[in-house]
Symmetry: C2
Subunit: 147 residues, 2 copies
Amino acid sequence: MATQTEKPASASAAIDFDKNGGTVAAIAVDHLSNRVLMVAWMNREAFDETVATRRACYFSRSRNKLWRKGEESGNFQVVHEIRTDCDADAVVLVVEQRGDAAACHEGYESCFFRKLDGGQWKVVDQRRVDPAKYGPGYGHPPKKSAG
Amino acid sequence: MATQTEKPASASAAIDFDKNGGTVAAIAVDHLSNRVLMVAWMNREAFDETVATRRACYFSRSRNKLWRKGEESGNFQVVHEIRTDCDADAVVLVVEQRGDAAACHEGYESCFFRKLDGGQWKVVDQRRVDPAKYGPGYGHPPKKSAG
């Protein structure tokens, strides 16, 4: 048991959380298609929990607390693989998106559903689920929208 | 000509650079495999230049200046597609990695060449090029290394 509890600490010790105010960018990609599903942030605690549970746990900077992805919607992410980059200040999570197969709180497979086309941002993906099903308090309030 | 110069400004106007101190996370993925090649930062100027030139231009936070990817190494990136996310605070660049097909300054295809395996970070990719060929001043000094 000692070995199991030491391992996550060892993994996060190598990550440089200082450079970006205690967080690193965490990019979730689909384990089959490699598609970027979302970008969020992790502090050390979120990273350690993700390693220990193999479910993606991020850190919500706006809410200043751990964000266990899918805790409201059921759209959790099983983590198949974790990579870090040359500077150890970003991580890639290779995930299996469960629930309604929608990583985005707006009901899309990927948060990156808008593409720049002729100088304009256009929604080019199909919504997979109406997030209204998760209740009126679901998700975070929209900020500046791209269109 | 007026239309052409207005388009990039219009595209970046929708991006929320404020949330992260004037920058957004920019994730470059390979146009064929979807693989995440690197994560960097863009300020508005870098984003506008990327849209205008279709070559990836980032903002180096450590050097506090525009970073025209490949300007030293020739490993530039032709941008095929640009996406933004639901909150418009991150972008994905779908790129064709030119030069030595190495996005990473350490000579790997992707900066994410280390994988968490049994609690340890292991290099699991093959180096594509020895970056020493780009000269002694190439790249940024290594910070905290993952292993």
